[in-house]
């Protein structure tokens, strides 16, 4: 075992690191708040009568629009061909809408010139009786808060329930250390978001804090399971609390990595797959994951060392007490 890695001795260091980051985060939050983003997008919509006049020339229309957009040196992020419906009967009314979506980096002037170019391009097609109408739009997304805060509450409740399970299953020392880890991860995640100015949706920081709590509980659970198993090993009996915890934490790194790496891979793969808005939520999940690694390997074990010493002492004194009691009872029984 690496003698320099003794979690108990390093507790003040981890507390200082966490406190420093959390205080810096609070200051940054008080001054600047979180870097909230309101996703904005721009669209060019081409509405046309698809039944009466354009018939087989829809492909030509799409090509004309796309050529005009390409000539302006702009690329669209999404294209939708949608049917317009009658509100009353939910049946198609014969009109279609071709929508090209652009990012918010496209300026209003560029959007305006794009609209004019598309309009000129479709006019040149010679299907004027197709009732073609070209418009440019700016859309600003509105966040629905209830879903986000309910999710954060759900994660917080789940975290507490999990810690209670840890308490019953592995002992209250483990639960207290896990709780410290959870609180640290929650605050640290929020602080790092405030310090690094990572763009987030409104209410998303709460959600990330909840996710940090869950990651923290799961990783700490693995550590607890490993410690429980390892501490039964007679080789651990001769070690001090600090050494025993340190040895077990080092021995558990493969198990923790086996859980951690697939989660990280899943986040990266989904982040790469998802659209811009969802990616803004998925990829920052790596941050709570990293924070929970820090707490499950460093902070929580360091907190657990003094607790383990205390609980071990309590246990041994209780054993002595029981032993004494038995010793007192045995002669009396013999006499009887």
């Amino acid at each position: 075992m690496n003698k320099r890695f003794l979690p108990g001795k390093l507790l003040p260091v981890w507390i200082a690191v966490s406190a420093l980051l959390i205080i810096a985060g609070i200051v940054m939050y008080a001054v600047f708040g979180f870097n909230y983003v309101r996703p904005e997008k721009k669209t060019i919509e081409v509405s046309y009568d698809a039944v009466v006049s354009i018939e087989d020339r829809e492909a030509d229309l799409e090509k004309a629009c796309e050529d005009a957009i390409a000539q302006k040196g702009v690329s669209y992020s999404d294209k939708q061909v949608s049917d317009e419906l009658e509100m009353t009967y939910v049946s198609e009314n014969g009109y279609k809408r071709l929508t090209y979506t652009f990012g918010s980096d496209v300026s209003d002037e560029t959007l305006s010139s794009l609209r004019d170019a598309v309009e000129a391009s479709v006019t040149a097609l010679g299907v004027s009786n197709a009732d073609i109408h070209v418009t440019a739009h700016t859309l600003r997304s509105e966040r629905l808060y209830e879903a986000s805060w309910r999710a954060a509450v759900a994660l917080a409740v789940a975290g507490i329930v999990s810690l209670v399970y840890v308490g019953f299953r592995f002992g209250w020392g483990n639960a207290i250390a896990g709780l410290v880890g959870c609180v640290n991860d929650t605050l640290l995640t929020l602080s790092i978001f405030a310090i690094t100015r990572i763009p987030v949706y409104a209410y998303a920081p709460m959600l990330f804090a909840g996710v940090a709590m869950i990651f923290s509980v799961v990783l700490w659970l693995l550590q607890c399971a490993r410690m429980r198993e390892n501490f039964k090993d007679p080789a651990y009996e001769s070690l001090s609390a600090g050494e025993a915890v340190a040895t077990s934490v080092l021995a558990s790194r493969k198990l923790v990595c086996a859980v951690l790496i697939p989660i990280a891979v899943a986040i990266v793969v989904l982040g790469a797959l998802a659209s811009g808005g969802v990616r803004l939520f998925v990829l920052p999940l790596l941050l709570p994951l990293a924070v929970s690694v820090y707490s499950s390997f460093l902070l929580a074990p360091a907190v657990f060392v003094p607790l383990k010493s205390k609980f071990d002492k309590l246990k041994s004194s209780r054993k002595r007490y029981v032993g004494k009691k038995k010793a007192q009872e045995t002669p009396a029984e013999t006499q009887a």
């Binding site: 509405s47 992020s77 999404d78 294209k79 939708q80 061909v81 949608s82 049917d83 317009e84 419906l85 509100m87 939910v90 009109y95 209003d108 959007l111 305006s112 609209r115 109408h133 418009t135 739009h137 700016t138 859309l139 600003r140 997304s141 509105e142 629905l144 808060y145 879903a147 309910r150 999710a151 509450v153 759900a154 994660l155 409740v157 789940a158 329930v161 999990s162 399970y165 840890v166 299953r169 869950i214 509980v217 799961v218 659970l221 693995l222 607890c224 399971a225 490993r226 198993e229 198990l255 086996a258 859980v259 697939p262 989660i263 899943a266 989904l270 797959l273 998802a274 659209s275 969802v278």
Partner: protein, 510 residues
């Protein structure tokens, strides 16, 4: 287990899994199309695999109609225009010639604002209109959020219109668009004919006694009892007093009660007796439609003083929200892309297990395939819409199953290395890994269940899918995988080689 027995059991299990995989993932011909060749399509009728029958979320789905594939996805979208705001198309078609109205172009001509109503005679929207629009937007967000389903999107379009999208999986999408666009205070009218325009307004009182509607109506909510959905309208004492006196003569002659929001009727009732209590209205409501009506009335109570109404533009049917992959003329939908990525992850996982555990890897692969098939069947049967949350849950629970199996194998490998027999190694390996796997599963199961019960929308769907995923992973890892290990191992005469387990080399003292 003997070799022959093992071979028979393994063949049977493999056959069952192969058939299930085929039914779940592979389209196959089931007959001939009548009038073949007329449509120019292939002359075969294809069986649509169950993965295609699952509901798709608004982000991943692609709508499709017809007998062959009646699954939905994508969604519906509508633009809501506040009173006095019209689209550029409407302006081109009607606005320029409409009597007595002058319009101002706004947002580079994307919309047109009524100069008198919206701009108060000027060129820019008045403060009163801006405040009313803010109140309308707040109300719309509250209303649509109350639907508690995935895939809802609200966007402010061109400054003063609202674009709303709902998933196609929501049955009452169109009703939600229509009712939720009604803006203004709720009113209650009573008359003796079915024509609401001939009825008298009883709530709020008209004239000098006029108070906000919230002084008469406490709220509206939805109730479900024995499969019947009710809209409950809860009146204050003052409201009940007015309602009671207005309907005093209803016992003798039939009367009609109308509840309107912003002048649009949301409830119409025939009354045959005097009303003394809150209203419980049933009828042709489904749970969703009753919730929409109740929510429309309830949220309208906050719209006191908002004079501007709202109207819906054309509804548009949307394709899946997530863009797919397009390379030249080759196009792949986002959902297909996800299937491919999941397939690649499966291949990577299989390679890992086969390289590390040789033939034992097949036990895990069979377990995983069965897990996947059962997950797809659950998604289809419940149904759970396949979206980002479902896919995330599936990937996480797949990883959990992989990790759990690997942990059990590793414990057994250690035992085998110490010199135990393979049967004893498996037994001890599972014994030692049981609590690790159990703890992880039970905690994740609790988390998933709580997220499903407390969270809303996509998060709730994620929680539900993860609940099933974790439960199946636990059963697969601790039950099925162990059984399959015994079965597959029976085929080999050298179990250590079969599992790629090695004995620890002991140095010879001599």
């Amino acid at each position: 287990m003997g070799k022959i027995k093992s071979a028979i059991v393994l063949t049977l299990i493999s056959l069952i899994i192969a058939v299930l995989c085929f039914v779940c993932f592979v389209p196959f011909p089931v007959g001939w199309v009548e009038n073949e060749g007329e449509s120019g399509n292939a002359p075969f009728k294809f069986f649509n695999p169950i993965i295609n029958w699952t509901e798709k979320s608004s982000d991943f789905g692609a709508y499709q109609f017809g007998d062959e594939a009646s699954y939905f996805g994508g969604g519906y979208s509508v633009v809501m225009y506040p009173e006095g705001v019209i689209s550029a198309k409407e302006y081109r078609d009607n606005g320029e010639t409409e009597d007595g109205k002058e319009y101002v172009a706004y947002a580079d001509g994307a919309v047109y604002l009524d100069k008198e109503t919206v701009c108060d005679g000027g060129e820019a929207p008045s403060e009163e209109f801006k405040e009313a629009f803010a109140a309308q937007l707040k109300c719309l967000k509250k209303r649509f959020e109350s639907l508690h389903c995935e895939g809802i999107s609200i966007e402010v379009k061109d400054g003063y219109t609202v674009s709303v999208s709902l998933p196609a999986s929501l049955d009452a999408s169109i009703a939600a668009f229509l009712y939720f666009s009604y803006m203004g205070e709720p009113t209650v009218l009573y008359g003796t004919s079915q024509d609401a325009s001939a009825a008298n307004q009883i709530i709020p009182e008209t004239g000098s006694k006029q108070k906000p509607a919230s002084d008469y109506i406490k709220g509206a909510s939805v109730r479900n009892n024995l499969g019947t959905a009710y809209v409950e309208v809860d009146f204050t004492d003052l409201g009940l007093e007015l309602l009671s006196s207005a309907t005093a003569d209803a016992a003798g002659s039939s009367g009609y009660l109308f509840i309107q929001v912003g002048g649009e009727q949301v409830i119409g009732l025939s009354i045959s007796e005097q009303i003394h209590d809150d209203l419980y209205i049933s009828g042709t409501y489904t749970s969703d439609s009753a919730a929409i009506v109740a929510n429309t009335i309830d949220t309208a109570l906050d719209l006191t003083g908002v004079e501007f109404g709202m109207s819906c533009g054309e509804v548009v049917r949307l394709q899946a929200g997530f863009a797919g992959l397009k390379i030249g003329s080759f196009e792949l939908s986002a959902l297909s892309l996800v299937y491919i990525v999941i397939g690649l992850l499966f291949v990577a996982m299989s390679v890992f297990f086969l390289v590390r555990y040789h033939a034992l890897g097949f036990a895990h692969i069979l377990t995983y395939l069965l897990f996947t098939v059962v997950m797809v069947l659950i998604f289809w049967a419940i149904p759970i819409p396949v979206g980002l949350g479902t896919i995330l849950a599936f990937v996480l629970s797949s990883l959990l199953l992989g990790v759990s199996d690997a942990v059990a194998y590793e414990y057994a490998r250690k035992e085998f290395a110490l010199g135990k027999t393979i049967v004893s190694s498996v037994k001890t390996g599972y014994k030692k890994s049981f609590w690790h796997v159990f703890d992880l599963h039970i905690v994740l199961l609790a988390i998933a269940l709580l997220v499903y019960l407390i969270a809303l929308g996509e998060f709730s769907v994620f929680g539900l899918a993860l609940t099933f995923g974790v439960a199946l992973s636990g059963l697969g890892s601790l039950g099925l995988n162990r059984f399959l290990w015994y079965v597959t191992m029976g085929l080999s005469g050298n179990p250590g080689k079969f599992c790629h387990f090695k004995r620890e080399e002991v140095e010879d003292d001599e």
